[in-house]
Structure formats: C-alpha cells, structure tokens
C-alpha cells in the first residue's frame, strides 16, 4: 500500500512539472503551439514553421528530461519502498517487543490490582457480613421489642375496647330501658288519651242519641197513639173526648 501511494505521488509531481514547463514556454514564446493546432491565422505560416520546429525540439528535450526524472523517481521510489519495508519490519519488531513488555506490565499491574481488589472485596464482604450479622441481631431484637410492645399494646387495646364495650352495653341498656319506659309511658298516655277521646265520643254520641230519642219519643208516642187510637177509638169515644175538651175550654173561659 505505501508503495503504490509513493508512485502516484511521483507521477503527479512529473505531470505538474510538465504543465509548468509548458506554461513557461508559452509565456516566453507567444508563437508556441502544440502539434496539430490550426486555430492561428494563415498570414503567419512561414514564421510558424520555425516556431513549430523549436517547439518540437523543446518538447522533445522536455520529454527526455521528464523520462530521466521519471526513471530517477522510479529508482528513488524503489529505494524508498525498500527502506520503508525495512523500517517497517524493524518498527514492527520493536512495536512487538514494546507491546509484549507493556502487555506483561499491564498483566502484572492488572494482577496486582485484581489481587488488591479481591482482598479489598474480601475485607468488604467480611465487614458487610459482620454488619449484616449485627443488623440482623439488631433487627431481631427490634422485632422482639416490637412484638412485646405490640402484645402489650394489643392487651391494652383489648382491655380498653372491652371496657368501652362494657360501658357502651351498660349505657345502651340504660338508654334502652329509659326508651322502653318512655315508650310505655307515651303509649299509656296515648292510649289513655285515645280512650278518653273514645269515651268522649261515645258519651257525645250517647247524648246525641238520647237527645234524638228525647226529641222523638213524644212524636213516636203520638204516632203510636194515633195509629192505635185511630183503630181502637169509636166515634162515640171521640165525641166523649170532644165533650171533655170543650168542658175544659169552657172551664178556662176560652169559650163562653
């Protein structure tokens, strides 16, 4: 790879040199043309033949110089390639050695670090274990404390709840008893009131009915007597009653 890059570089340099030489010639010699170029006026044909010859000579010498330079460049390239290959191998050997040394040192260092880390980790594990054991003991003791405390609170709560329930029951019994007594009293009062009202209604009804009877008993009697006497009394009896009535009217001096 470095070999091909070097050749390309050389060819590029040669091409640039050729182009530079061409432009230099054209500036210093305005009639200079490349072979086959017919763009110039026909008035200058004779002068142009001389210039063309010179140009060909120049171009020929330049080509020769370029070929010489190219040959030297190829030689230099081959030499550089050989040197490069040599130095490359040498550098690779040295790099290999340095790499091995560095790898070895790194391995040593990694080993030491690993050992140290393992030791530290072992220490950390031991410390962690001791801390865990201590925490476990503390946790167990805390749990024991919590259990005993919870039991105590539970017992206390049970006692409290039992006491409160007993109080509630006692109060409920008292309230229920009072409520039942009040209800009974209210019921009795209500019944008494209803009874009193009913008795009042009955008495009122009785008085009304008695009044109706009082008012109608005479009418009933009169009607009964009318029906009975109308059938039983003879005309003579009626006349006798008329005489009796007239006697009374006379006695009262209603008729004279």
């Amino acid at each position: 790879m470095p070999y091909f890059d070097f050749i390309n570089l050389i060819v590029l340099i040669l091409a640039a040199s050729s182009a530079g030489a061409f432009f230099y010639l054209q500036r210093n010699h305005p009639g200079f043309h490349l072979p086959g170029d017919n763009t110039h006026s026909s008035g200058h044909l004779e002068g142009d033949s001389n210039l063309e010859g010179k140009s060909y000579d120049t171009l020929h010498s330049a080509t020769k110089k370029a070929q010489a330079i190219l040959g030297m460049a190829e030689l230099d390239a081959i030499k550089v390639t050989a040197d490069t290959r040599f130095y490359k191998e040498k550098l690779e050997d040295k790099f290999e050695q340095e790499l091995q040394a560095a790898s070895k040192a790194a391995q040593e260092l990694i080993k030491q670090q690993t050992d140290r880390t393992i030791a530290d980790f072992d220490n950390y594990l031991k410390e962690l274990k001791s801390n865990l054991e201590k925490s476990d003991k503390d946790y167990v003791s805390y749990l024991t404390f919590l259990k005993s405390d919870t039991d105590a609170q539970k017992n206390q709560s049970q006692d409290t709840i039992k006491t409160q329930i007993n109080q509630i029951f006692v109060k409920f019994e008292e309230n229920l008893s009072q409520f039942l007594m009040d209800s009974q009293q209210r019921s009795v009062q209500s019944i008494e009131l209803e009874l009193k009202a009913a008795r009042g209604l009955i008495e009122t009804y009785k008085q009304q009915q008695l009044k109706v009877i009082d008012e109608n008993v005479i009418a009933m009697l009169e009607k009964t007597l009318s029906l009975v006497l109308g059938k039983k009394l003879s005309l003579q009896d009626q006349v006798e009653l008329v005489y009796e009535a007239l006697e009374k009217a006379k006695a009262e001096k209603f008729i004279i």
Binding site: E222, L225, S226, Q238, A245, L246, E247, K248, A249, I255
Partner: protein
C-alpha cells in the same frame, strides 16, 4: 127574627150554613120564578120542609135577591169558632157538638169544622184568632217530662 137567626136555629157550621143558603135560594127561585131546582137529599128536603111558612112568605120576586145578598154579607162577617177534630165527623156528631154548645154556652156560636188527625182525640179551638189545644196530643205534650222520665228508666 131575621133570616140569619132563623137559619142558625138548627144549623151549626159555616159549611152547613152556606149549603143551606144555597139550597134555600134555589128552592125560592123555583117557587117564585119556576127555575129548575136541583135534586135534594132527604136530609135537605127535610130541612126545607121544617122551615115555617112565615119564613118563606117573606120572600117575593122583588126582594129575594137583595135579601140573599144581604144574607151573604152577614155570613161573610161571621167570626166562626174553628174546631179542629181528630176524626171526620158525620152530621150526627156535628149536631151533637152543636147541641152541646146550645146547652152549655150562653150564645150559640157558628163553628167551622177542620180535621187534624194529629190531635189523636179531643179538640183544638181557634176563637177570634187565638189557638188553644185541648186535644189528647196537648195532654201528652204537657206530660212530656214525665213520659220521658219513664222511658229513660228503660233506656239507661
């Protein structure tokens, strides 16, 4: 004795009086003017026959109508004693009542019979616009308290 007094000798009620005035007028028209007379009942014929000749002779063609007009005016002015009876009386009972009046009162009143079965018995009278009940009903009403007390013994 004027005509009305003669008629009231044996006529006791206003109804009978009007009836007898009507049949008398008819009778006299028949005698004086030969008008057709209605068929009289035996009782009416007997009453017409009982009238004295001097009574009927006082009527003639000229005065018969003025006299009857005068008589009707007198009847209208009568203030009869209204007698309420509990039964419908016949002529016999009316005459008995009239005879009682004739026997027991100083002045014989003309009376008007009305029927009220509610009286039960006895009479109620209206004299000069005043009502007085002497019936059996009034006796019961007078004894109302006593009767009610007796009834209440069985009710209460």
């Amino acid at each position: 004795m004027d005509i009305l007094t003669t008629l009231l000798t044996n006529t006791y009620t206003v109804q009978d009086l009007r009836h007898r005035v009507r049949i008398l007028k008819s009778h006299l028209e028949n005698i004086l003017f030969g008008h057709h007379t209605e068929q009289l009942s035996p009782e009416d014929s007997r009453w017409i026959g009982s009238l004295p000749h001097s009574f009927t002779n006082q009527f003639n063609k000229d005065n018969v109508y003025p006299l009857f007009d005068q008589l009707e005016d007198q009847i209208k002015k009568l203030n009869p004693l209204v007698i309420y009876l509990a039964f419908e009386p016949g002529q016999e009972q009316i005459e008995k009542i009239g005879q009682w009046f004739k026997k027991n009162l100083a002045k014989l009143p003309v009376f008007e019979i009305k029927v009220d079965p509610g009286l039960l018995g006895g009479v109620a009278l209206v004299n000069s616009g005043v009502y007085k009940d002497y019936s059996l009903r009034s006796k019961i009403q007078e004894q109302e308290e006593t009767i009610l007390a007796e009834f209440k013994k069985y009710i209460r």
